[in-house]
């Protein structure tokens, strides 16, 4: 057992689809939270396999997509400085700022390095004591512990030339923002499995209860998505409202407590602006005061004043809240493409718009149980 191939079985997927068809009696709208799940759904053509009465809408769980444009411009401003080594996960490097992206800064001579882990960025700082090393710390609760660990480790090891540009966001406040909107049409959620691997799922219980929506913690393989969909539809058809855990092989109810503890030691909750959605109260993390020496926005105070406007053509906010499908946008695939994205969901491969562009040509039936 390698915990991957078993969950891509084509024959089983098709039989599972039959079972979902058998229990579905009316229209339901579900939202998958995570961009990784959106990617699986579009790649394997899962939407086209399900009954037409099940509408899967794609949520805001793509950190690359929801990182504000002005934060990208701040990253570019810092990375352009001569004494800086700017480090980042690869997918942030090609996100366009208001005038250019980080790869353009690199091409112009900026020292920008792609890292696999924030711990690698701390090593770069140790190896380059005369430079200031900045890591672009974006992500949801899945990534927050590793980014917190890098700051904690730098402090413990006396590494003073390391800081993070922090733009962390949290899932439950985004779910609440969607559910409390008067235009909401989401009736059930597939919660993000890896966020819950860290956080557990107790914080979803009050949300399910308050808004009367089933929430199913779901994994990322095609059979996980089908299983999570089945569990959510079954709850809706039976009139139940529960938080269930499809991804039990990886997610415990209480989550990963040591990771949570370190994360809370380094970060505190703050209001955050979500690209395409706007300000959501208490929806992100910032560094605690005792770690402010590691806050790139304080180390480089000149970037604090950067503000920018989004393209007026982009309907990202509606897409990220599940109110529009990507192809319902007037500039989808024309003025807005993965090469020249106008808005957030076209930027990352996990973004809903980019996923539709990339995989829409794949015949859904043969792709359903294919292997990645």
């Amino acid at each position: 057992m390698r915990f991957i191939d078993e969950y891509r079985d084509q024959a089983l997927a098709q039989q599972y689809v039959e079972r979902i068809k058998q229990i579905t009696t009316r229209e339901w709208t579900l939202m998958e939270i995570c961009g990784g799940q959106t990617h699986t759904i579009v790649k394997y053509g899962i939407e086209s396999l399900l009954p037409e009465t099940i509408n899967l809408v794609h949520g805001p769980g793509c950190p690359v997509c929801v990182t504000p444009l002005e934060m990208i411009d701040k990253a570019i401003a810092i990375a352009s400085k001569s004494d800086v080594i700017f480090t980042s996960f690869g997918d942030m490097l090609r996100v366009p700022g208001s005038t250019q992206d980080l790869l353009s800064v690199k091409a112009a001579g900026g020292d920008i390095r792609m890292v696999y882990s924030p711990l690698d960025a701390v090593k770069i700082a140790q190896q380059n004591p005369s430079k200031t090393v900045v890591f672009f710390a974006v992500g949801f609760e899945t990534t927050a512990p590793a980014n917190a660990l890098s700051v904690w480790q730098a402090k413990q090891s006396g590494v003073r030339n390391y800081s993070i540009l922090c733009s962390h966001v949290l899932v439950p406040p985004a779910i609440e923002a969607i559910l409390s909107s008067s235009s909401n049409r989401v009736q059930g959620f597939l919660a993000a499995g890896h966020v819950c691997a860290v956080m557990g799922y107790e914080e979803y219980l009050p949300l399910a209860e308050k808004y009367r929506v089933p929430i199913v913690v779901t994994g990322f393989e095609p059979l996980d998505i089908l299983h999570g969909t089945y569990m959510a539809i079954k709850q809706l058809e039976e009139g139940r409202v529960e938080v269930e855990n499809q991804y039990s092989r990886a997610v415990r109810r209480e989550g990963n407590i040591p990771a949570q503890k370190l994360m809370r030691q380094v970060f505190e909750v703050t209001d955050r602006h979500w690209r395409g959605i706007g300000e959501i109260p208490s929806s992100g993390f910032r560094l605690r005061d005792e770690f402010s020496d590691f806050d790139a926005e304080k180390v480089f105070a000149d970037v604090a004043t950067i503000t920018v406007q989004e393209s007026p053509d982009c309907i990202a906010g509606l897409v990220l809240q599940g109110l529009r499908k990507p192809y319902e946008c007037s500039v989808f695939g024309t003025k807005c493409t993965p090469e020249h994205p106008l808005g957030a969901p076209m930027v990352s491969t996990e973004g809903a718009c980019a996923a539709y562009i990339r995989y829409k040509h794949v015949p859904s039936a043969s792709a359903a149980g294919g292997r990645a």
Binding site: M1, Q15, G36, V64, F140, T143, H227, S248, N256
Partner: protein, 89 residues
């Protein structure tokens, strides 16, 4: 970005400030921080995200889920839906 991949723990090193391990991802071996997986053992599978293990794979739960999925698959035969596909239960 929340992509996390299961890998098999090959060795564990507790000599440094962080508990580290060598993890095999289908042939590709990488150094992974397992600081937050308190009872991790060699031979077990962990789920790794950006160089840190965030959870241990529970083999029993994985088998249970696969059993459930398999039972769903068997249902088609039980219901004879090869002839009556789409008729419902």
């Amino acid at each position: 970005m929340c992509l996390a991949i299961p890998g098999k723990v090959l060795e564990i090193d507790t000599s440094g400030p962080l508990k580290m391990s060598r993890v095999d991802f289908g042939g590709i071996k990488k150094s992974v921080c397992v600081e937050w997986i308190e009872d991790v053992k060699v031979g077990e599978y962990v789920i790794v995200h950006v160089g840190c293990a965030i959870s241990k794979m529970d083999k029993q739960e994985a088998l249970t889920t696969l059993d459930l999925l398999q039972q769903m698959g068997d249902l088609k035969t039980e219901l004879g839906t090869d002839e009556g596909s789409g008729k419902g239960i």
